[in-house]
Point group: C2
Chain length 301, copies 2
């Protein structure tokens, strides 16, 4: 089924103990579409400046990603982020951020995307998330992300967004900040009370938790030896999750559990190299093999 | 098969956001024996002062724990620890510690315990760990714990201990400090190179990792809503692990994996209440039920 993502498209500069990548392709919508596209075709909605390198557009065009919603805004500059990972590399330290075009008016969902059924609203201002959503006629499953900034400064608007989505994918810090609960199962339960049918809470190297009205599941990260750049891990997780749901056309708990596994596995590929480098050479067989390996690892009966 | 533990027996005072417990029974050997005793009879070796309350001895006697190796040393004071948990409660803050009798000469393994086959050397000076081990005639499986203090101050002695044990159960901070590797799979692999056949690395609320020569597995913690006092979680984990191995009389990877699940489940009970309160009313049925629930939670095929 059709899968639409709205979010950032950026140019990243990243340092980690394993190297440095200068002005590489990044952004939530990019990582999301790239990973989701291994499961289902993706429609991308986002905006960049006219400085956006054509070769980065080509990288996305190599996958079944419909760029019909990619606006290249004349006279504007693309979003840029510079970050650094240290130590256990569980959290990025932002060295510099230039919102550029992301500080201007949001993109539009093109008419031929209005019939999209599975929607991922990557992190942006919660009011813009609802605006974008209102441009989709009859979505079947809407999932959103958010960030600490909106939890602090736009709580009311965020709560309004949470009332109209079916699912939330956030990280542990955001879940705790949003609910005031330190225990992540309790935090997940509190998020459910705000509207969504499910909450997936990402814990970086520690895996993820999913809470629904009557089910709680905690999964480990794929035990990865190679972690060179965690940038985009969270959006790759979301891409694996939504990609699987859209491919299956189902949103029941059993399918959500399968999606949780796909999200975990896709994140484990992304972090193996800087930017999209690992994903660019990824094959469907490698994904299936790692999913099998992960499922076998967790089978104890 | 016979299971012996050497470690601390203490009187703890613990505060958490959920309450306060004054002068309650604690110590690594106590949490270990109590949880392991649900799987196999336990032989305890440890030393307390003559201030050790008789009612705490009785608590242990209610389980199949052989106190033949419990020395009550006249004129000495029992080990005391005061700690506090805050926020996500993943790590205890030590407020006060009085080693007391633990700073004197170590206990002895009584002759009738010398034929013990499964041995857990809870955290203590690595030289004392080897001394105690030398009093056991032909152990089949020896597992040790350690702590940051010995990694820093007694590295050579600790490395000698690691050369003579079959397995290690440590927490993530210790594994990283011991190996200098931030990635826990790599840390586990490095520990294996130091001698042990397996390394289990505990990550508190984030679960645990096991690494052997040809297998790496990461498991989540049991998704617990009730976490009132994490004291003893790590030793309860070890108790579940060694208890299961001793009960099965096997140490192959498949049995180690099953043991990893039992350790995880036993820790999840311990943290539900202060001191041994939850464990004191625990039933075998509750353990089996939670193991089943955990195994089902992780079954994705």
């Amino acid at each position: 089924m059709s899968l639409l993502v709205t979010g950032s498209i950026g140019i990243d500069t990243v340092s980690s103990p394993y190297g440095h990548a200068e002005s590489v392709l990044g952004g939530s919508a990019v990582y999301f579409s790239y990973t989701a596209s291994y499961f289902a075709p993706v429609r991308l909605v986002g905006v960049v400046g006219d400085d956006f390198p054509d070769r980065y557009r080509k990288v996305m065009e190599e996958r079944p990603i419909d760029l019909g919603g990619l606006e290249i805004r004349k006279g504007s500059q693309t979003f840029r982020w510079t970050g650094r990972f240290e130590g256990a590399m569980n959290e990025a330290e932002t060295v510099e951020v230039d919102l550029n075009v992301l500080a201007e008016r949001g993109p539009r969902v093109p008419n031929h995307f209005a019939d999209s059924q599975f929607i991922f609203l990557a992190n942006t201002h919660p009011t813009l998330q609802r605006e974008l959503l209102s441009q989709v006629s009859s979505p079947r499953l809407v999932v959103c992300d958010t960030m600490n900034l909106w939890i602090t400064t736009e709580k009311e608007s965020l709560l309004e967004t949470l009332r109209v989505v079916d699912g939330v994918i956030v990280n542990d810090g955001e879940a705790r900040m949003l609910t005031g609960k330190m225990n992540l199962i309790e935090a997940g339960e509190d998020i459910i009370k705000l509207g969504p049918r499910f909450a997936m809470i990402k814990k970086g190297e520690h895996g993820a938790i999913m809470v629904t009205a009557d089910h709680a599941v905690s999964v480990p990260a794929f035990p990865a030896r190679i972690v060179h750049d965690p940038t985009g891990a969270g959006d790759s997780f979301a891409g694996g999750v939504l990609g699987h749901l859209a491919a299956e056309g189902k949103t029941d708990v059993a399918t959500l559990r399968q999606a949780l596994v796909r999200g975990t596995v896709m994140a484990s590929f992304t972090i193996e190299d800087f930017s999209l480098r690992r994903l660019e050479k990824l094959t469907g067989d490698e994904i299936r093999e790692r999913v099998d390996q992960y499922v076998r690892m967790l089978r104890f009966d």
